[in-house]
């Protein structure tokens, strides 16, 4: 329920620092006890164009972004033109005094006067906005301290001065910012984190210690977080020459004892497809983080979509098992990535975490992850029992062969991209092929037995059930609460394999099932029909590169019902 929330949108050109302002502001709100949910919209360019950073905030849980704007911080005129129509009735504009606000309810800020030089425009904006929505200047001061501390006390002092001046100026104006609800009393401690950062932390928590990657928006910040936060943990990262190198390097490392991750987006993932197959046949653990953006090909590189589910499902020639996780929140990003590592190690096959640009860049206030509550992640063997007799692909009842790491005993660890015998040597005969291929495929049954059940939210026997996966969770929840029907949400955080008994009763109990997906083909609905025979007839799809919102869903629902 985000009834009490407001939505702050900071808009301007790339290069104007709106992300800095936005991040600091959001963090201040979180420190103040508010919930936040950020939606970042940016172009595939470094300067110019039009970007925005929207913070939805309030004292109660926020589930998704919204088109409506309550406070529009316009760093340029264009922002007003583009977003003016999104202002709510109570909507306020904050803009430089030189911008013509055409009669809108605007706080016109004398940026030039408040900032001694253009470098400080950002801090002015922060001070102004902070005064509007955060009644405790100490929080803002602390934030600047944390941010600029490393740069020396002089820098901190000059920033603080500007901040205080801007803050004070706003207070003098007596402008009505009452749309901003007060913070809750005694709020719990929260961290502010986005989907990509949460994935990186989940990986680190699972003992991941090796990354090979090639930069690609919107996945790069997973790598950045691993590299920069992992520094103190002895994390090893290498930027590869291309994505093919990245996946093969990750597999070589995994064979030699690393816990490996690769991070990429659509086109980069496409290049990894052969390597995925190598992971499958060699039974080498690897976790693939695929942060989706709209395709085909380069498509819309900085926008969001859920268009690569099919590719993830079938990436790799030949047949081998896998699991695909599709978190809907940063928390789920953290826990499911952690889980992916455990499964990758136990089942010795590639695991996938699918996110998308919306979730990747969406900061949220989150309860700090409790490391002690995490299950232990499985480990390979350093020294198998009878090293001399060790067989990497030993046949066994559960189809899982003990995985030894080479170099720590006399065991020879042979992995092979060709079909192979138990030792790992190349073979061509039919019986060995059948034995090894069956062994690999049979691991899929184990995976199936421990599928994460979908989340069911809402009343029993609803009029409408929203079927969704991944980042659309929040929008579906919001929409379900806003609709004047009895609506529930069935959200899949694991889309493959599917275990029908976990959800078929929900589908059957609902009057109408509506599939909500961020793609044009309803890829998940098709998968569902493939796996269960259950056909969905109603779709709310979006493929314009923008995140699905509650309003979008409700509008779609009107067309359907």
């Amino acid at each position: 329920m985000s009834e009490m929330s407001i939505n702050i949108l900071i808009g301007g050109e790339a290069g104007q620092g709106l992300v800095t302002i936005g991040q600091l502001m959001a963090k201040a709100l979180v420190r103040g006890g508010h919930d936040v949910l950020v939606n970042q919209d940016y172009m595939s360019r470094i300067r110019g164009g039009h970007n925005f950073f929207a913070i939805r905030t309030g004292p109660e849980p926020i589930q998704c972004t919204t088109e409506m704007v309550d406070i529009l911080v316009a760093l340029n005129k264009e922002t007003l033109e583009i977003h003016g129509s999104q202002l709510t009735e109570r909507g306020i504009v904050v803009a430089d005094e030189k911008i013509d606000c055409r009669g809108l309810n605007a706080l016109k800020v004398p940026f030039n006067d408040l900032a001694s030089k253009p470098l400080f425009y950002n801090v002015v904006a922060l001070g102004v906005l902070g005064a509007a929505v955060c009644n405790d200047i100490a929080i803002l001061e602390g934030l600047l301290q944390d941010t600029f501390g490393k740069k020396g006390s002089e820098i901190v002092a000059s920033n603080l001065e500007v901040l205080r001046k801007a803050y004070a100026w706003v207070k003098e104006q007596n402008f009505d910012f009452s749309c901003m609800p007060p913070p809750p009393e005694n709020p719990d401690k929260r961290i502010m984190i986005n989907g990509n950062e949460a994935i990186a932390l989940g990986a680190l928590a699972a003992g991941c210690n090796f990354l090979s990657f090639y930069p690609m928006t919107p996945s790069t910040s997973v790598a950045l977080t691993l590299i920069n936060k992992g520094k103190e943990l002895g994390f090893v990262a290498e930027q590869a020459e291309d994505e093919i190198a990245a996946i093969n390097m990750a597999l070589g490392a995994s064979w030699a004892g690393a816990r490996s991750i690769v991070t990429t987006s659509g086109g980069g993932f496409a290049l990894m497809v052969e390597g995925i197959s190598l992971a499958g046949v060699t039974e080498t653990p690897v976790v693939v983080i695929l942060v989706q953006r709209p395709g085909p090909a380069t498509g819309l590189p900085t926008r969001t979509e859920q268009g690569d589910l099919n590719l993830a499902l079938y990436a790799g020639h030949g047949e081998f098992p896998r699991a695909i996780f599709t978190p809907g929140t940063p928390e789920e990003c953290f826990y499911l990535t952690h889980r992916a590592f455990d499964l990758a190690e136990r089942y010795q096959t590639p695991m996938f975490v699918l996110s998308d640009q919306y979730l990747a860049d969406s900061y949220r206030a989150v309860e700090p992850f409790d490391l002690d509550k995490l299950p232990e992640v499985a480990k390979p063997l350093l020294k198998p029992e009878n090293p001399k007799e060790y067989k990497r692909y030993a046949l066994s009842d559960d189809c899982i062969s003990p995985r030894a790491i080479p170099g720590f005993s006399e065991a020879l660890v042979k992995v092979d991209s060709d079909e192979h015998d138990e030792q790992g040597h190349i073979v061509e005969d039919a019986p060995t092929r059948v034995a090894q291929n069956s062994k690999r495929l049979c691991k899929g049954c184990g995976l199936w037995a421990e599928v994460v059940p979908p989340g069911y939210y809402g009343p029993d026997e609803p009029d409408v059930l929203f079927l969704c996966w991944g980042s659309t969770l929040g929008a579906a929840l919001d929409a379900s609460e806003m609709a004047d029907l009895k609506v529930a949400v069935l959200h899949f955080t694991q889309v493959y394999p599917l275990k029908d008994e976990q959800f078929m009763p929900f589908l059957e109990a609902a009057k109408e099932v509506v599939c909500v997906e961020g793609n044009a083909n309803g890829q998940f609905a098709r998968l569902l029909r493939q796996e269960t025979g259950y056909g969905v007839n109603n779709f709310i799809l979006r493929f314009d590169g923008r995140p699905i919102t509650a309003r979008y869903i409700l509008a779609g629902l009107k067309n359907i019902l």
Partner: protein, 283 residues
């Protein structure tokens, strides 16, 4: 010294008379003379006739994809700095499909060895031109002759100041063993381009062809002299110098990566306290 028998004897799928047999023998000799035990070495290969070599000796093996032995080998190096890592594959694998990885590996200069069996042809797929096939050489898929200039891996490696660059001939076993040993001992990336006859598909670069042309470099050649090395690197015609063409003891990749100092990744324990602090830094 490790007895060479520790490396075992295997049936191979190679043609009788193929240069691969000799290379395999020399690799085993070099390892045993260096006193490296089978479980200490990790062979990483691609796909092709040459790439089958690690199947035929006792060792840890990662027999990966065509063209992708180098990234996997480097991944292994990064995961375990104690492992003797040797990548072994053909000219097609390393310089064709894997050309980009070859360049990147030269630039990284990790402590590992690349044994490139260079038969100047695609053997396993039955005789198409490889990147090192001579221009104009006719094959089934190049009926008008190979249309491109041949790739000279040694010259490119010298250009890029690769740590250790050697060219050798499968037919000169004593020399080959010696060079492989030096390559493995070198603390940085070592390229050993091994000229090797393919009796089935390369009727131009035969054993005799190489035999007639290859001559050993003697002490008069200083591998630390880049200009001299470049001259020898591009000499590939009536006379082909074999031996260590170039050597540069510059610091390896590992020295620029502080996180590698803590040893093999497999033995690391997660520092939960530090991680909790990191999580806290998001407040």
């Amino acid at each position: 010294m490790i007895n060479i028998e520790a490396y075992g004897t295997f049936d191979t799928a190679w043609c009788p008379g193929c240069g691969n047999h000799s290379i395999l023998e020399c690799v085993k000799l070099a390892l045993s003379e260096l006193d490296i035990a089978p479980h200490q070495v990790g062979f990483v290969s691609g796909i092709g006739q040459a790439a089958k070599a690690p199947q035929y000796l006792n060792c840890n093996m990662f027999n990966g994809l065509h063209g992708r032995s180098l990234p996997a080998a480097q991944g292994a190096r990064l995961a375990n700095p104690n492992m003797v890592v040797i990548a072994e594959s053909g000219d097609g694998c390393n310089y064709g499909e894997g050309g980009n990885h070859f360049l990147a590996a030269l630039r990284r200069n990790m402590n590992m060895t690349l044994l490139a069996h260079d038969n100047q042809i695609y053997g396993l797929t039955k005789g198409q031109a490889s990147p090192t096939t001579a221009k104009g050489q006719v094959t089934k898929t190049q009926p008008f002759g190979a249309p491109s200039e041949p790739f000279n891996p040694v010259a490119v490696a010298v250009t890029m100041h690769t740590g250790f660059v050697a060219r050798v001939f499968s037919g000169d076993q004593e020399h080959l063993v010696n060079i492989i040993k030096q390559a493995i001992n070198h603390k940085g990336f070592s390229l050993v381009d091994i000229l090797q006859p393919c009796v089935s598909f390369n009727k131009v670069n035969t054993f005799g062809w190489y035999k007639d042309r290859c001559y050993r470099l003697d002490e008069s050649h200083d591998p630390k002299d880049w200009d001299a090395a470049m001259k020898k690197a591009v000499e590939f015609g009536d006379r082909i110098p074999i031996g260590v063409i170039y050597k540069d003891d510059k610091p390896g990749f590992e020295e620029g990566m502080p996180s590698l100092a803590a040893g093999p990744l497999a033995t690391r324990e997660l520092n939960k306290t530090k991680l909790a602090e990191i999580i806290d830094s998001f407040t």
